[in-house]
């Protein structure tokens, strides 16, 4: 072929070397996170555990947005549902057959029927994943079936986040209202204030994060991975290739939501509270920014982005209590404008071309917010 176009480095998925290269970041991150408690104070370790919950959620958002091109601005909903499932179990455990404290204050006399099953961990824990997963599949299937996509889909998910957080604030007797669910004391009989319990939770979170990363790597390196990217590139062409795009997108949405639910369930016992403030519009947008900064369509990027952004947020707010929000905002604008590929995407481009892919894009947000393919003739 007389076409000497500088094609990107050839990819040969499936070879042992490629597999090793893909697993290396997981291994590195795993080793670092398992060693981290040795150098971190208890307080910092607890903060890191919180960031790792966000990292699990970020991997889910990356599958949906980075790979499939579907931008959800309402993942707080799924995070919240997972968190509330865990919170309800913790509340029921604390109440030990009696009425949870806030229900007492709100004038309820008996435990509502939908709270009852949450006293069993075998129900509450699977529900933290299955609840968001099934709900997202139904919502996603209905939305994708009517072929709503791009910014319109994002707006619907955002409305969902708003509606659900308002609903949870309003139903104080069932949800704890604005305060949410808090004042937990034990988990499976272990005191949450106990250092060993928190250590165990930290290692469980790290393990689940690594499993999530392996799961995501498997999904994206399997034939399904190319199908997802194909949907991102040109959804209509995938339909005309005979694939049921609606079902695939709804399933990915469900997987993404289940991971967010898992993150929520891990977050609650370590942070000690879940409230509507965790599931509204603002946290939902912050979740997306984790992936944008880390690098879309790279699993490592989502995890690094989540840890780095959360860490920056906490450091900035500690050191500049008055102006940290402005600094934080500037960080986002700067990184998205200058490095649209994110940390890992920029790093990879650097390795490939030995040049910094620094540029001032003309309209950097458009391809991100509106990832639908071109119309066919």
């Amino acid at each position: 072929m007389p076409n000497p176009a500088p094609s990107p480095a050839p990819r040969h998925p499936g070879t042992a070397a490629a597999l090793l290269r893909a697993l290396l970041p997981v291994l590195l991150i795993g080793v670092l996170l398992f060693l981290a408690p040795a150098v971190l104070s208890d307080f910092r370790q607890n903060l890191l555990a919180k960031f790792l919950c966000f990292a699990i959620l970020a991997v889910g958002i990356d599958l949906l947005w980075g790979y499939t091109g579907v931008l959800s601005l309402g993942h707080g909903v799924w995070f919240g549902l997972g968190g509330y499932a865990m919170g309800m179990y913790l509340k029921m455990e604390d109440a030990d057959g009696r009425l949870p404290d806030f229900m007492n204050w709100s004038g309820l006399t008996s435990v509502p029927w939908f709270w009852k099953p949450f006293e069993h961990p075998w129900f509450a824990l699977p529900m933290a994943l299955l609840g968001p997963g099934v709900a997202a599949f139904i919502v996603g299937f209905l939305i994708f079936r009517s072929r709503v996509k791009g910014a319109y889909f994002s707006i619907i998910t955002q409305a969902l986040a708003l509606i659900l957080s308002i609903l949870f604030v309003g139903q104080q007797q069932y949800t704890g209202g604005t305060n949410g669910l808090t004042n937990f004391s034990t988990l499976f009989g272990f005191s949450l204030a106990d250092r060993t319990t928190q250590d165990a939770l930290y290692y469980i979170t790290v393990s689940l994060l690594l499993l999530t990363m392996l799961f995501a790597l498997w999904l994206t390196r399997a034939p399904l991975g190319s199908l997802l990217v194909a949907i991102r590139d040109d959804e209509d062409r995938v339909r005309f290739s005979g694939h049921n795009v609606t079902a695939v997108k709804a399933l990915v949405f469900a997987i993404s939501a289940a991971l967010a639910g898992l993150a929520g369930a891990l977050y609650v016992p370590q942070v000690g509270i879940i409230s509507p403030a965790n599931m509204g519009i603002v946290p939902s947008i912050e979740f997306v920014l984790l992936v944008a900064v880390g690098g879309r369509a790279t699993i490592t990027g989502a995890v690094l982005g989540a840890i780095i952004v959360s860490w920056a947020r906490s450091t900035l707010s500690e050191n500049y209590p008055d102006t940290w929000l402005y600094l934080f905002g500037a960080l986002f604008i700067g990184s998205v404008l200058l490095f649209p590929a994110g940390i890992v995407g920029t790093w990879r481009a650097l390795l490939r071309t030995r040049r910094l892919p620094l540029r001032i894009p003309r309209s950097p947000l458009r391809p991100q917010l509106d990832p639908q393919g071109a119309a066919h003739e």
Binding site: P8, W218, V229, F240, Q372, H376, E377
Partner: protein, 276 residues
């Protein structure tokens, strides 16, 4: 003529009341290589849109038209389709586009549309997996599947480019890649909308020969503007004009037909009056 595989009867399509196809009848036999020609606006692409399910009947009020991207609606909102499209006992007018493909009718678009951010081989693999269940797609493809992808790559001569991102291909290569994505599904009917547009002369020759090799095992319907190409490779030609079938027959007879000449020449005389 051998057995009919695709049968279209009294097909009428109108966009916002404007007729695009008008009582069109068309029968295509199994294994045939059929060329559709006609001036701009004759309805060639619309005919393919209807067969492939891109244009479907929407009676009554239309709130959202899925065939049109959500922003900047270039098409009218109401589409009416009447008539019958029969393919082996199936009524295509009632089917979704992905179901039509799974039934055995594959379509190549006028502007080559391939997936730019995955490799050439992955593009073909995505097309090849069109009947796989979701769970099957989580595991590596079978050896038989890999061979078929390889065979499709070789048929269109893209084997050396297998691991290049499709976005880096030249225009002609993209056309071939899209043809390979159809081939790997071994569809019973292939709809090719101007497959040689933008190709160099040697590339056209190769494409024409490829189409001749494929006809027989596949039924192929092609729309084409390039009369040289039609003369060289066509057997049976259908001429569309103003949404109707004007003439149908062997290419020599069509070329000599005074009415066909007038349609094409008349178009040249008044270029301003030609519908876009």
């Amino acid at each position: 003529m051998s057995e009919a595989i695709l049968k279209i009867e009294q097909l009428c399509v109108s966009f916002d009341g404007f007729p695009v196809l008008d009582n069109l009848d068309l029968v295509v036999a199994r294994g045939e290589l059929r060329f559709l020609i006609g001036p701009n606006g004759a309805g060639k692409t619309t005919l393919m849109d209807v067969i492939s399910g891109k244009v479907r009947a929407r009676s009554g009020r239309v709130l959202y038209d899925p065939t049109v991207p959500a922003s900047g609606d270039p098409h009218p909102a109401t589409i009416e389709v009447h008539g019958e499209i029969r393919f082996e006992g199936l009524d295509l007018a009632r089917m979704r586009e992905d179901a039509i493909v799974r039934a055995g009718i594959a379509r190549k678009f006028q502007t080559p549309s391939v997936f730019n951010s995955i490799t050439v081989a992955e593009n073909i693999a995505v097309a090849a997996s069109y009947r796989d269940r979701f769970l099957r797609q989580l595991f590596p493809p079978s050896a038989e599947r890999r061979e078929r992808v390889q065979a499709a790559l070789e048929t269109v001569g893209l084997r050396d480019r297998a691991h290049v991102l499709a976005g880096a291909l030249s225009h002609g290569e993209r056309q071939w890649l899209e043809i390979a994505m159809l081939l790997v599904q071994s569809p019973r009917v292939m709809l090719l909308d101007e497959p040689i547009a933008g190709m160099t002369r040697p590339e056209r020759e190769r494409t024409g020969e490829l189409l001749h090799r494929l006809a027989g095992a596949h039924t192929i319907i092609i729309t084409e503007h390039d009369m040289d190409f039609v003369r060289q490779f066509a057997r049976t030609v259908t001429v569309l004009h103003m949404g109707r079938v004007l003439r149908e027959g062997p290419v020599e007879a069509i070329q000599a037909d005074p009415v066909v000449r007038e349609v094409y020449l008349g178009r040249q005389k008044t270029p301003a009056g030609e519908p876009a």
